[in-house]
């Protein structure tokens, strides 16, 4: 028999109460692990995506960062003439309404890109990273290339037929980039995209720009913004930064909200332990009468808090992991990123809560006067 054993038996005495206080810590820690894990996963995927999606610089209608606002194709000539621009590629974006309203069963990417195969090849985007079949060609009409995750979800192979906006498309290539957002992408020829979307043949939504010299992206984007009216040129690193900042804010908020939940759990532990100390007043009096010091009693109660925190933390990390698995099932291909550091932080947090919750009850227990305690009925 040792201290740990007696402490373990103590917390098992009132199983329901112990379970409920563990639940408090568990929910808080689960929330931290799941939300931060998901946010980590999203961050790495989203940051990956930026470069391959937008080229060096993306040009959209001003004030419409990542929304679908039409521009006239004539804008391309103006961009092309700007010093430092090497290649440009137009994009038409169609929202797949059916996928959007398809609930949890649909893909998480609702946009279908209309691309110019020739320009795409020059600019070298992910639409050219074809694992099976081939990339789109200039002569293609109702052909489609799809990301590998999307292909898996819809059971598509090279040669499969897909219905999109009442038209039959043939899958000619399957892209694989290893990024869950990119691998749910679909692309069709730009002319067909315009036809499907029912827009004028000179409409585009975005222009992707490749610069002549790497490192001049910022400079070129500035020139585009100055020279071409009503457009906004953003470099991919700027976008990465913006997204990264946004995701950092989300992560901080996630921590804060989950921490509040966990602190409530910690207060629950304090309450449970305080109750248990009051119930055991006489017992603690006996411990002292038979030769335990105040520190021995303090140690015992703090150890109880530590164990509650530890168990709550273990359960919470398990719960968080399960939540991200459930989340990944909903968002196919998504990988939450529960790092060892996150697990360590969550565990430390849980244990700190348990010990912190135990401080006041332990102090109360240590200051019990054995004479009063022994007369306590």
């Amino acid at each position: 028999m040792n201290f740990l054993e007696i402490v373990y038996k103590n917390i098992l005495r009132r199983k329901a109460r112990t379970f409920l206080s563990l639940l408090g810590i568990m929910i808080g820690v689960s929330a931290i692990v799941a939300l931060v894990g998901v946010s980590n996963g999203l961050k790495s995927s989203a940051l990956d995506v930026m470069g391959s999606l937008t080229g060096d610089i993306s040009v959209t209608t001003s004030g419409t960062f990542f929304t679908v606002e039409p521009m006239n194709e004539s804008v391309m000539d103006k961009i092309k003439g700007i010093k430092g621009v090497k290649y440009i590629a137009p994009v038409v974006i169609i929202i797949d309404v059916e996928a959007m309203t398809g609930g949890g069963q649909g893909p998480s990417s609702f946009e279908v890109y209309g691309i110019d195969p020739v320009a795409e090849k020059l600019i070298g985007t992910s639409a050219t990273e074809v694992k099976e079949g081939r990339a789109l060609q200039a002569s293609d009409r109702y052909k489609m290339i799809v990301g590998s995750t999307y292909a898996k979800m819809k059971d598509l192979k090279v040669g499969s037929k897909v219905k999109f906006y009442e038209r039959q498309f043939e899958v000619v290539g399957i892209m694989e980039t290893g990024n869950f957002i990119m691998d749910q992408m679909r692309a069709i020829p730009i002319d067909v995209a315009r036809e499907v979307a029912g827009v004028d043949p000179d409409i585009i939504h975005m222009v992707r720009v490749k610069v002549e010299k790497p490192g001049t992206e910022k400079e070129v984007a500035l020139r585009i913004n100055l020279i071409v009216p009503d457009v906004e040129a953003t470099t991919s690193s700027e976008q990465t930064e913006q997204i990264s900042e946004f995701l950092d804010t989300i992560e901080t908020m996630t921590w804060a909200i989950s921490a509040i939940a966990a602190i409530v759990g910690g207060i629950g532990i304090m309450n449970t332990m305080l109750m248990s100390v009051i119930e055991r007043t006489k017992e603690i009096g006996v411990f002292k009468a038979v030769g335990w010091s105040n520190n021995d009693v303090l140690k015992m109660i703090l150890l109880e808090g530590f164990l509650l925190g530890l168990f709550g933390g273990i359960l919470g990390i398990g719960g968080g992991k399960l939540t991200t698995i459930a989340f990944a099932a909903f968002l196919r291909g998504f990988q939450a990123n529960i790092t060892l550091v996150l697990v360590g932080e969550a565990m430390l947090f849980a244990v700190a809560l348990g010990v912190f919750g135990g401080i006041y009850p332990a102090y109360k227990a240590a200051s019990i006067d054995p004479i009063d305690a022994l007369r306590n009925e």
Partner: protein, 224 residues
């Protein structure tokens, strides 16, 4: 040897001062079997608390083996309790979640428990006739058995002094006699000083000396 010199313990309850002990002087020889008898409120439990180093006096001295308890800070009195004193309480006060054996070992826990100490605990349970019940929890033991476990617990530290506060108070007369027999046996075999507090004169038959307390003072003393 225990020596109480003009021991006073006063409590203040509101504006009233309660003189729980009011000038008690007693000498208790090593190996003596002593009983303290008195009506409730006479100060007998307060006296036991003082001898047991659970509390410090208002004035006077409690000298145990040459150490004056009154001069030791309350926060370190536990050392004295751990090394020299064993307590038997009226209601056994066993820990419900622990087995008889574990209850006996409780006083040793802060120092750590090794196989030798386990062996000693088992021997003590054997001595009080409960070896077979060592792994039973208090809820599975009779009142007399629980009190016997409490006695084994009081002895685990090999104390020089055993203090028993109404040890037969919660058991029937026959079991009470058995408990007194065990205490007597301890006293004779190990020369342990035993002081019991009781209001049942019947139980004092085994003791060598009876001290009668009334209103915090010694009323009379009888040697048997």
């Amino acid at each position: 040897m225990i020596e109480l010199i003009d021991l006073k313990k006063y409590y203040k309850i509101g504006d009233i001062i309660v003189k729980a002990l009011d000038g008690v002087s007693i000498k208790i020889e090593e190996g003596e079997f002593l009983s303290i008898v008195g009506p409730s409120g006479s100060g007998k439990t307060t006296l036991l608390d003082q001898i047991g180093a659970l509390d410090t006096p208002t004035s006077g001295s409690v000298i145990i083996d040459g150490i004056d308890i009154a001069k030791i800070p309350k926060s370190i009195l536990y050392m004295l309790r751990r090394e020299k004193i064993g307590f038997v309480f009226q209601n056994h006060n066993l820990i419900a979640s622990l087995t008889a054996l574990e209850n006996v070992l409780i006083p040793l826990l802060p120092e750590g428990i090794n196989p030798k100490k386990y062996e000693r605990a088992l021997k003590l349970l054997e001595a009080v006739g409960l070896k077979e019940r060592a792994l039973h929890k208090p809820s599975e033991l009779s009142a007399g058995q629980k009190q016997r476990v409490a006695m084994a617990r009081a002895l685990i530290n090999n104390p020089k002094i055993v203090l028993a506060d109404e040890p037969t108070g919660s058991v029937d007369t026959k079991t009470g006699q058995e408990i007194m027999e065990i205490l007597k046996q301890l006293n004779t075999e190990f020369n342990t000083t035993i002081i019991i507090v009781t209001h049942d004169l019947e139980m004092t038959r085994n003791t060598e000396r009876i001290i009668f307390l009334r209103d915090g003072k010694i009323d009379k003393e009888t040697k048997i």
